[in-house]
Amino acid sequence: MRKKWKALLPAMAVIAFAAAGCGGDEGSGASSDVSVGLVYDIGGRGDQSFNDAAAAGIERAAAELGITFTEASPNDDGSNRGELLQLGADAHNLVIAVGFLFEGDAAKVGAANPETSFAVIDSSMIDWAQDPPAPYGEKIAGLVFAEQQGSFLVGAAAALKSTTGTVGFIGGVRGVGGLIEKFEAGYIAGAKAVNPDIKILSEYITEAPNFDGFNAPDRAKDIALAMYEGGADIVYHAAGGSGAGLFEAAKTQSEASGAKVWGIGVDSDQYNTVDPAVQEYVLTSMLKRVDVAVFEAVKAQIDGTLVGGETRYDLAVDGVGYSTSGGFIDDIAEKLEEFKAQIIDGTIVVPTDPTQA
């Protein structure tokens, strides 16, 4: 029995290969043999942020490209990430992992499953230990975003809307491979592009490897209040779940002082995800289009163009951007679009290091 089964394998591989080839020929047709295993970050669907954006991307891919997919999400300490990736690799030709915390596991599981493609959101999937640094594998893609470009635009929006000449930035965790620092750098550069004399208060909630900073709305609230009391009237956060505390603080401060202060959201359009009671304090949000990245990764898999290592989603491909919900920044939209065009054509190069902003 066993032998027969083995003899069949090459034939099956040929069939599978041909089928995949067919899918490629059809391009973005209505059906495809590509199947995707989507592994969420902790929390899974319904987090109104990252995971939901990934879910939107995969559903669009299912509807437009005709792929099939399964979903999984890690337990709450994230200790089974590697197993979930392997589970995805067993049954699918593309495994998408949502979040930089998958980097190590994806590199390992990817090496053990060379036939399967992997795509990790928010990690470049480049092995910096090699000389020169090289991708972990030919089929291990890292989907990263030019967060600094989106942050530049909301930084410019903050400077344009600020009446006090002071704005603030709250980062979740310092030292996660410079990830959150990119937000800070772009924000500072954007604010200074509008007003070179602007004062920017900048704080991080915790330092890696302490990731509490992404789950501490209470601390974010205190920091934001201190910034508002220190003269800032607009504060931008890149702190995940802690951001709820920022909008809470904006409401508290606005009601106590009578002068309206604002918060700026991150990743998703937070005007639509926060509680209606604090909605009016969300000036704009820096959008990180995880849905676009997921969709494009699936499309690349179908077309056979998925490459190992870093793929960057920037303003030019609408991988990042800013939201206009609420209509609070309609009056400065023209200026922001100008900045956007200048970043896309390279007139403005946005720094990724806060010390150079």
Binding site: G43, G46, D76, E203, D212, P217, A244, T273
Partner: protein
């Protein structure tokens, strides 16, 4: 020294606080800042101290009855979920009650495991710490995902119970009449020490959450309950010498189970407080960030006494709140000098007790803190973040010899075995 320790507790603690504020005032004058003794400093001290205080009181009841409760963190997590759930559906006061109930369920589980089944206290506690986030994750996925704005990791916005500003002293309103603000005007005078005390006191009396008032009232209430009632005496016997209690006809199991369930209730209230808008205004997975364990540290610092637990909680809350509001790290830089002074005092005290090694270590640390203070302008963020924990650790190291835990704390007790 002997004379001071002979003072009654109600005089001794204010005296310690007075000395502490005096040192802060001195450092402030030297450093030309007003952060250390501002009203917002004491306000955030209270806000960050309350969850630790409640967790510590929870630990107090369990350990006074002889059960180590390392599961406080888990019970606090249950409190955040149940507190948010109750507050979202039935209003903030009900939220506090459901938070207490959720924590008490965790406490009851710990009690049944340790008291009835004789499970090791640490193992049961750790199990609860692992179990609780799983339970809340499950409950959130079943219930919060159906709410607008809710998800598997978070709740909708949680309403709060409101605030109270004391009239006359801090200028609160009484029936539309804006009372004078005595402490405020005293604080504005710039009188050395007097104005500083007034400012700190004003912070404690301005915009105080009603939950905070309840939490603070629990300190004298716990003292009274444990040391002035028959229930308290019997409960403490269970922690000191359960066999003697049994010989007196006390149902030791019942007292232990009651105490540990109450313990969970305290931790649950702490969790509900964290989820309330006083701190977070939302239930968010992972938001307790280890404050149950800090509560245990406050319990040990406080030598298993409610007033001491309050002291420990505030000692943690002060640098924590100050660090958060300290943009740029200048106030924390001033705190370095306070640390140096405190360590020097500890060195002198240790020497007077004949503990030379302790004195030498404290002396070295004092010099390091002083040198760091003199050689730098600001302190890095990581120092601001670890300072509250470092202070608690140092205090435990230097005062460990003075501490006395309940004699049968953490021991397995079986009815009729002796």
């Amino acid at each position: 020294m002997r004379r001071v320790t002979a003072l009654p507790a109600w005089l001794r603690w204010p005296l310690y606080a007075g000395v502490g504020i005096f040192v802060l005032t001195l450092v402030e004058t030297l450093d030309d800042t007003d952060r250390l003794t501002s009203a917002s400093a004491s306000q955030s001290m209270l806000r960050w101290g309350v969850p630790v205080l409640l967790a510590g009181l929870g630990g107090l009841f369990a350990e006074r009855a002889g059960v180590v409760n390392i599961g406080l963190e888990g019970m606090m997590i249950l409190g955040t979920w149940f507190g948010a759930w109750g507050a979202v559906n039935y209003g903030p006061w009900v939220g506090l009650l459901t938070g207490i109930g959720g924590g008490a369920l965790g406490g009851l589980l710990h009690a049944v495991a340790t008291v009835l089944f004789g499970v090791d206290h640490i193992i049961s506690g750790v199990a609860i710490n692992i179990l609780a986030p799983g339970i809340t994750r499950f409950l959130a996925s079943e219930i919060f995902t159906g709410y607008p704005g809710g998800s598997i990791t978070q709740s909708p916005r949680v309403p709060g119970v409101g605030h109270f500003t004391f009239p006359v002293l801090a200028g609160g309103e009484v029936g539309g009449w804006l009372s004078p603000n005595l402490l405020g005007s005293l604080g504005d005078r710039d009188w050395f020490f007097v104005s500083n005390v007034a400012n700190l006191a004003r912070g404690l009396l301005t915009q105080v959450s009603l939950v905070t008032i309840v939490a603070l009232a629990l300190v004298p209430l716990s003292t009274w309950l444990l040391w002035r009632t028959r229930f308290g005496l019997r409960l403490r016997i269970c922690g000191e010498h359960p066999v003697a209690g049994e010989a007196q006809g006390i149902d030791v199991y019942r007292y232990k189970i009651t105490a540990v369930t109450m313990s969970g209730g305290f931790a649950g209230l702490a969790g509900a407080f964290i989820a309330s808008p006083e701190l977070s205004g939302i239930y968010l997975e992972g938001q307790t960030t280890g404050r149950g364990f800090i509560g245990l540290a406050a319990l040990i610092f406080g030598n298993w006494h409610p007033v001491g637990v309050l002291g420990g909680a505030l000692l943690f809350g002060y640098p924590f709140g100050l660090g958060l509001r300290d943009l740029g790290g200048t106030a924390s830089h001033s705190l370095l000098l306070v640390n140096a002074v405190a360590l020097a005092a500890i060195a002198a005290w240790s020497l007077s007790k004949g503990r030379r090694t302790n004195a030498a270590v404290a002396c070295v640390l004092a010099v390091v803190a002083a040198a760091w203070y003199l050689l730098s302008e600001t302190v890095p963020d990581w120092w601001v973040n670890i300072l509250p924990f470092a202070i608690v650790l140092l205090v435990l190291v230097f005062f460990a010899q003075r501490l006395r835990m309940p004699a049968a704390d953490g021991q397995r007790y079986r009815r009729g075995e002796h």
